[in-house]
């Protein structure tokens, strides 16, 4: 099935206040800068965001936080070389943080996409991050029960799509993208190019199009680290 193609503003136009939004990327690799900036322009507030980190510098996710759009951040590592926006909001009590171990975050998102409401993992057993969670022994080892994580929207960056939304990614920019496409009710994907049907070999598809709802072509996307290194601030 052909997926509708939008510009960044059109793709995010219906994200309402209070929405949960997964944002792909690990640091700058895979960060969908154009989609995130379109979300900032659009004005939605009280967002719950899911990302491995919590933004960097004055652009992208950090700009959403700085502008007070984010109610809650779910991530594994909110510190970075310049995570000032998150730090200030957090220390001022203006943003809630749900800290999740990185592998548990990835698996919770996959579980959300795969219809697995809960699973057990060794990760965090016996640590403060397991507090308040069910812990149980299997075969003499202690495990922690973790719940799936879903979202209303995902904003993901891939390298290339075909019209059906089949995706391939670029190197380690793949990271959380394929999982977030699965776990979001509406997965919005920006790609460098949309190629003709049949131009992506079925053997090498990373995200099958069934997980993708909207496509956005951004031929020469901005790279978040470069913006941060330049000291860029959006808007």
């Amino acid at each position: 099935m052909k997926k509708p193609i939008f510009d960044p503003a059109g793709a995010v136009a219906d994200i309402p206040d209070g929405a949960s939004v997964m944002i792909g990327g690990f640091g700058g690799a895979g960060a969908p800068v154009e989609l995130v900036h379109a979300l900032l322009d659009q004005g939605a507030r009280e967002l719950t965001l899911v990302n491995n980190n919590a933004g960097n510098g004055g652009v992208g996710l950090a700009a959403l936080i700085r502008e007070g759009r984010v109610r809650k951040m779910i991530c594994s590592f909110p510190r970075s070389s310049d995570s000032r926006a998150f730090q200030e909001a957090y220390l001022a009590g203006k943003i809630e943080l749900e800290l999740v171990p990185q592998g548990t975050l990835a698996e919770r998102i996959r579980a959300g996409g795969a219809g697995i409401p809960a699973f057990f993992t060794r990760t965090s057993a016996g640590t403060p991050l397991a507090e308040g969670k069910e812990q149980r022994e299997f075969d003499g080892q202690l495990y922690v029960m973790e719940r799936w994580l879903k979202a209303d929207f995902a904003l993901v960056k891939a390298k290339r799509a075909d019209p059906y939304g089949n995706l391939v990614y670029n190197k380690t920019a793949r990271n959380f993208g394929p999982l977030m496409c699965m776990a979001a009710a509406t997965a919005i994907v920006q790609v460098n190019e949309i190629v003709e049907l049949g131009e992506i070999d079925p053997e090498i598809v990373v995200t099958p199009g069934i997980f993708v709802n909207r496509l956005v072509a951004v031929a020469d996307p901005q790279q978040e680290e470069r913006l941060v290194a330049q000291g860029a601030v959006y808007p």
Partner: protein
């Protein structure tokens, strides 16, 4: 209870045609092994449907011409298929993530019995048979909508639409619509509601061939077959 010989039951092809009319444009669909596989042939022109098969393929097409079959390119029934442009291949866990995660719009399956509460039994025909479940339980639990395509009665005239399944369940409360060779029946609020009946068959005559109450929501339409 036997049927007035003047009444024409739908053929398997006609049943498949009728079910195909209810597949929405743009759907992702999994068709069960057997009669449901026929449905793909009758989807109205202009509707784009993408077919999923449990064994790791989205976007497959008809059986290839004789001699061009690839034993490594098959559907869940192990029959040869073809790759359409825009297809995707993936492993079994990803395939069932699509199913279990609610990403497929529709599954059409066969049945031993369907109960008025939407329960489906289609995997174990009695205690003696060797049980085999395949992907049926995953499909009925995970796919957004489950249609059943089955004869209205068994070969020896027993009703397949029943108050309560006597065979082992595949899933509880999962079926939303049943296409038989005599009628189209919805499952609504734990009741069977008749939507269409074949030409010449009265609702009472249909009731006599059904193992549960049949309700109406307006007069049933005519079950047509192209």
């Amino acid at each position: 209870m036997s049927l007035d010989p003047a009444i024409k039951r739908l053929t398997r092809q006609q049943m498949a045609w009728r079910a195909a009319q209810d597949i929405a444009d743009g759907s992702y669909v999994n068709l069960g092994i057997g009669m449901p596989e026929l449905v793909a042939r009758y989807v109205p022109a202009g509707r784009h449907v993408t077919y999923h098969t449990e064994n790791g393929l989205l976007g497959f097409g008809e059986r290839p011409p004789e001699g061009q079959e690839d034993p490594d390119l098959v559907n869940a029934g192990k029959k040869p298929v073809t790759l359409l442009p825009g297809a995707a291949l993936f492993h079994h866990a990803d395939s069932f993530a699509m199913i279990r995660g609610g990403h497929l719009d529709l599954s059409i399956l066969g049945a031993f019995q369907v109960a008025q509460n939407g329960d489906l039994a289609n995997w174990q025909a009695g205690e003696d048979a060797i049980p085999a479940v395949g992907g049926a339980m995953d499909l009925v639990s995970g796919v957004k909508q489950v249609f059943v395509l089955t004869e209205h009665t068994t070969r020896d005239g027993q009703p397949k639409l029943v108050e309560r399944c006597s065979y082992a369940l595949t899933g509880a409360g999962v079926v939303t619509r049943v296409f038989t060779d005599l009628a189209v029946v919805d499952v609504i609020d734990r009741q069977f509601v008749v939507r269409e009946i074949v030409d010449g068959l009265s609702l009472d005559a249909l009731r006599a061939l059904t193992g549960a109450d049949l309700h109406e929501a307006g007069a049933p339409g005519l079950l047509k077959a192209a």
